[in-house]
Symmetry: C2
Subunit: 381 residues, 2 copies
C-alpha cells in the first residue's frame, strides 16, 4: 500500500498551494473535543440499543432533540415526525432521486447550481434542465416558461446562501415556487445546508415554512454545522413523503441509515455543544468572509465583480470581458492558487467568466495571500 493510499481524508492539497476552491471547514475547525465529550456521555450509559438495526426514520429520541434544535434555529416549529435521518446531503439527494423521480425523468436546477449535485443527478440518469437565476436566486417567470415545455419530477434549489452564488431566495419567490409545485405536481427539493450559517443578514424561513400540501423536501446535514466525517444529515418533509423512504426496499434489510453516529450527535445536542459550536463557526466564518471580501476589494476591484457574502461558504463573481476562468484556473495552478471555475456550476457549460471562491478553509492571512496570487495570475493572463 502506497503512502497516498494510506491517507484518511478526501482532500489532498499540494504543499504551498492555496486552494480557494475547497468548500470545507479547515482541519482546525473540526470538533474533536466535542465529539469526545459526546461519546463519553453516550457510551457511559448502559443502553446499547443504537448498536442494533435502527428505526427506519432514525432514532426517535435523536429526531426529537434535532427537531427542538431546528425549531430554535429555523424559528419555525419543526416536528420530529417530519424528519428522516440520512448519511448526509449526498445520501439524501440520492434517495430523493430514487424515490421521487425515475431514471429518464426531467428535473430542473438553477443556473448556476451546485456542481457536485449535477453528478448525483447524472448517476441517477436524470435529465437536467437549467432555469436562470438572478441576484435573488431562481427566476420564477423563467421557471414558469420552462413548465410549458417540461413536466419535471422536482426542482432542485439552494434557496439560502446559494452554492455558488450566495443568493438567497426572498419569501415571495419561495411562496410562488411552492404554489407552482402544487399546481404542476412537482416536488421542491431544497438544499438548505447553509440555512443556519447566516452572518450579516437573516434569511427567510426554510422552504418547509411554505409547504401546504406536502410538496417540499428539505435536505440538510451536520456537515457544515458540526463535521463532514460524521456523514449524518436529514430530510425534512411531510410524513406522507417520509413514508416513501421508510417503506423503501433500500431500508428494509438495514433499517435506519446511521444509528451509531446519531447516538453520538444526540449527546452533542443534549449537552448544548451544537449551539455553542455553531456560534463559534459563525464568528469564524464571518471574519473569514470579511477578510476575503476585503482582499478582493483591495486587489481585484477593477476586474472582478462579486456579491458581498452574507452567509454560507462562498463568494461568486465574474471577471469583466470574455475571459474563460477555466483557462485562468490552469494558469493559477502554476502560481500555487486555485478556485472553482464558473462552467462547473452550469448544466449547459455556460458561466465561463465566473468563478467561485471559498472562505471556509483558510484563515484571513491565507485568504489575502490567495487573492494576491490570483491577481498576479489574472493580470498576467
Amino acid at each position: 500500500m502506497t503512502l497516498q493510499t494510506r491517507q484518511t481524508m478526501q482532500l489532498s492539497i499540494p504543499e504551498g498551494m492555496i486552494d480557494l476552491g475547497v468548500g470545507q471547514p479547515s482541519v482546525s475547525l473540526l470538533p474533536l473535543e466535542i465529539i469526545k465529550q459526546a461519546a463519553d456521555h453516550r457510551l457511559k450509559q448502559a443502553d446499547p440499543s443504537f448498536l442494533a438495526y435502527g428505526k427506519e426514520s432514525g432514532c426517535g429520541c435523536f429526531r426529537a432533540v434535532l427537531a427542538e434544535f431546528l425549531t430554535d434555529g429555523y424559528q419555525i416549529p419543526v416536528d420530529a415526525d417530519d424528519l428522516f435521518i440520512t448519511c448526509g446531503a449526498t445520501n439524501s439527494l440520492d434517495l430523493i432521486c430514487t424515490f421521487f423521480a425515475r431514471p429518464g425523468d426531467t428535473i430542473f436546477v438553477e443556473e448556476p447550481t451546485y456542481f457536485l449535485a449535477l453528478r448525483i443527478f447524472q448517476a441517477r440518469l436524470l435529465n437536467v434542465v437549467s432555469i436562470p437565476a438572478d441576484e435573488n436566486g431562481l427566476i420564477i417567470e423563467a421557471l414558469e416558461e420552462q413548465l410549458t415545455h417540461h413536466s419535471p419530477a422536482f426542482v432542485y434549489s439552494i434557496p439560502t446562501f446559494h452554492n455558488p452564488s450566495g443568493a438567497t431566495l426572498p419569501a415571495d419567490r419561495r411562496e410562488k415556487l411552492v404554489r407552482l409545485g402544487e399546481k404542476h405536481q412537482f416536488f421542491i427539493v431544497a438544499d438548505e445546508v447553509y440555512q443556519l450559517l447566516a452572518y450579516t443578514s437573516s434569511p427567510p424561513p426554510p422552504m418547509m415554512a411554505f409547504d401546504r400540501q406536502g410538496t417540499v423536501l428539505s435536505v440538510s446535514s451536520f456537515t457544515k454545522i458540526l463535521a463532514p466525517g460524521l456523514r449524518l444529515g436529514w430530510i425534512q418533509a411531510s410524513p406522507k413523503l417520509i413514508s416513501r423512504l421508510t417503506q423503501s426496499g433500500l431500508l428494509a434489510s438495514s433499517g435506519g441509515l446511521n444509528p451509531f453516529t446519531s447516538a453520538m450527535v444526540r449527546s452533542v445536542i443534549e449537552l448544548g455543544l451544537l449551539g455553542k459550536h455553531l456560534d463559534f463557526l459563525k464568528n469564524t466564518y464571518t471574519e473569514r468572509a470579511r477578510a476575503l471580501s476585503n482582499a478582493l476589494h483591495e486587489y481585484l476591484s477593477d476586474i472582478f465583480q462579486f456579491r458581498e457574502p452574507e452567509g454560507g461558504f462562498f463568494i461568486w463573481g465574474h471577471l469583466q470581458g470574455k475571459i474563460d476562468t477555466e483557462h485562468i484556473r490552469q494558469q493559477a495552478l502554476k502560481h500555487q492558487v486555485h478556485f472553482q471555475p464558473g462552467h462547473r456550476f452550469s448544466a449547459t457549460e455556460s458561466l465561463k467568466n465566473h468563478l467561485r471562491l471559498s472562505f471556509s478553509y483558510y484563515d484571513a492571512e491565507a485568504l489575502e495571500e490567495g487573492v494576491r496570487r490570483l491577481k498576479a495570475v489574472i493580470t498576467g493572463c
Copy 2:
C-alpha cells in the same frame, strides 16, 4: 411524538412473542463495552482527520488493519487496495446495482435467496431471474442453461452459510461460477457476511480467492461480526472495479461513506477486540444453533426436514406435504411464535412449504420454547 415513534430500534417484537424470523443478534450480544474502549482509544489521540470528508475508498489506515484482519480470518491474502468501505451490505448492494448494472438489466439470484436483497434489486429496477440451488448451493448446470436465454449483469450469490438455506458452495462450484462469469462477461456479487461465522465446518475460501480477471465483487460487513447499528461494511474487488465506485458521482461531493465509524472500528481492530468478540459470538451461536437443532429433532422430527446448521444464523427446512407456511405463519402469531415463511425467499413465489428459523436472537431456552409453540401450531393446523 407518540411512544412508538420515539423508539430507537428497527425491531419491535410484541411482548411475549418469540420471533424466530429475526435474523439479528440479541441486544445482550451488542458490544457496548468494546465500542466504549475503542472510542476512548481513538478520541484521546490528537488527530481529528476522521471528522473531515474521508478518502473515497475509505481511510487508508483503516483499510490496512481490516485487510490484515481478513487475511487472518479468510486464510487468503487480502490487499487493502482491494477494499472499499461502505455503510454496510445493503449500501454495498445498492452501489453495485447502480455501477455494475443499469435499470432494466437482468440479474440472476439463487432460489432460495435473501428476501430483502430482492427488495434492493426491485428498488433499482432490475429484472430478477432465479437459478435453482440444491444442498450445495447454486446449481451450475442450471445457471449455464439460463445463460442461453439471458445475459445477466451479475449473479447474486450467498456462497457460504446461505441465508436462508445454510448451504455452502463447494470450491469446485465456486471455480466454475467465476470461470462462467469470465466467459459470459457477468459479475459475481458474493454476499459473504457469514464467511467468518463458521461453527461446525470450515467453508472454502471466499469468492475472491477464485477471481482471476476482476469479475468478483465480495460484499461483507461488521453487522454480523460486531454490531448492525454501526452501518459499516466493505466491498472487496480488484482495484479496477473499485475505481468505478471511487470515481462515481455519488461520492464526489461527500467522499468516503463512513469515516467517523471507520475510525472507531479501526481502534476495535487495533486493540484486538474484534477477534475476541468474534470468538465470543461463534461460541454463543454454536450453542444456540445446537439448541434449536435439538429442539427441532425433539419436537418436529416427523414433519419438518431441515439441514443441520454449520454456520451463519439460520435453519431452513420444509414441512411434509402441501402445506403453505404463510398460512401457518398467520396461525403462529396467535400462538406467540413467528418465523419467515418460505415464499419470501423465492423470486417466483415458490418454496411455499419451506420456512426459515433463526437462532441468533434468542438463547437456548427461548429457542426450545419457540419450537414447542411451533409444534402446537403445525400439529393444530
